[in-house]
Assembly symmetry: C2
Homo-oligomer: 251 residues x 2
């Protein structure tokens, strides 16, 4: 790609939108400029542009995003067949298992939820399509990383902040790589309270008809209700049934 095929004004604007991520509902120009790492004058122009287009509100001091911004993410969710195809299968899976079922794909070192059928909220955090979790300590993340060539998985781990979320969290890259090998041979991943105390989950890859891994699905349950040792026995058959059904319909 040539230099001139890159619209830096656009790239800067996207960076500004992302500055609102997580905890920043209201941003002043200076705050946004610090978060985005861009010049104040530039950020100001981007924000005023967003306001002019209705993607943001401006009260003279602070900018806030408006729901119109959801159109951008929704362009993906509604345009990509994967979430739509998976959703009904997740619903069935969730109902049969009596637990929450989710589907996600990999984006860098994070997994992104693309569909979810929740039975009852078991986690302290609120997961919806678009939500993100670090891949290394999530069951779907393990499955998706295990599906990559080992060098690539290693590269991603090296770029990940391997945080010790709970006493159970595996944080040693070599341990994780070894775990990926076990996952590849067994065909599923189990997480025993590595993300959050009290939460266990089991995941399998979702493959298309050519055997390529295109997503992962999981079932999450409270450890009190379904300890890690019982996850496979209880839920693996259901997950594999869904996995087989999806392999037949995914091109």
């Amino acid at each position: 790609m040539r230099e001139t095929d890159f619209v830096s004004g656009f790239a800067r604007g996207l960076k500004v939108i992302e500055a609102f991520g997580e905890t920043h509902q209201r941003l002043s120009i200076t705050e946004a400029s610090k978060l985005a790492g861009l010049d104040r004058a530039t950020v100001r122009r981007s924000l005023l542009t967003l306001a002019e287009l209705g993607y943001a509100d401006y009260d003279g001091k602070f900018f806030t995003l408006t729901p119109k911004i959801l159109r951008l993410g929704h362009a993906y969710l509604s345009a990509t067949p994967l979430p739509l195809q998976i959703q009904p299968h997740l619903d069935q899976l969730s109902e049969k298992a009596g637990q929450s079922a989710s589907a996600s794909v990999l984006d860098g070192s994070e997994i992104v939820y693309i569909a979810r059928a929740s039975q009852r909220r078991v986690m302290s955090i609120n997961l919806t399509p678009g939500s993100r979790l670090p891949a290394y300590c999530a069951s779907m993340g393990r499955v998706l990383l295990a599906a990559l060539p080992e060098s690539e998985a290693r590269a991603i781990l090296s770029r990940t902040d391997l945080k010790q979320n709970t006493p159970n969290t595996k944080t040693d890259p070599e341990d994780l790589i070894a775990e990926f090998r076990r996952i590849r041979s067994k065909g599923y991943a189990i997480i025993d309270q590595e993300l959050e105390i009290g939460l266990c989950s089991i995941a399998v890859p979702v493959e298309n008809d050519r055997g390529q891994t295109v997503a992962a699905i999981n079932i999450g349950a409270p450890a009190a209700h379904a300890p890690a040792s019982e996850m496979a026995g209880r839920y693996l058959p259901l997950l594999q049934e869904t996995q087989r059904a999806l392999r037949l319909i995914l091109r």
Copy 2:
């Protein structure tokens, strides 16, 4: 705002992302240019920029959005307290009612789902945060339009394609305006299969502690299970309970 405070390259890029809305998963440069109504060269640069940043994939012919694009919409969902504050109340509401409960806000002539607790899928369409429905024929949409000054509601209706989705759908603007008055006096809206045959729903406004309507919540149920005539009796008390609880916590 001055002319020079507007970054048109950014605005154009956002338009390109929105071109992927609905049914367009894969777009060639020319297709995207037609949908966005922009010059091909401009669209090409925007798409290459998206690809360079990882928001899109390019196979030399077609562009597709990647899940990274969800970061943009997610910046809103995770940064705005409203969805997070409402979610647990929706969960309770949904469980008590044994039906799906949702929350939405108005964006132009459409409602945008910001949170949802689903019990079982009753609609043919798949609703998640970010999903959109026309306001005029949705219970939450009616409530939100009824909360606007009548002139504004009229203006929105005039810009809406009032489609006859089912034999029940109200499409006459004057009928709708009259319905808004009834909604204001009763405090809730009921939809009897106006969006989709077999689906009824009831909605109430969500007000903050100053009495401003900031969102709407609803319960949807299959008509076979809960006919429109029984919706109010069964679900209105639960909705109002949630409404009161939210008024106390929303600033």
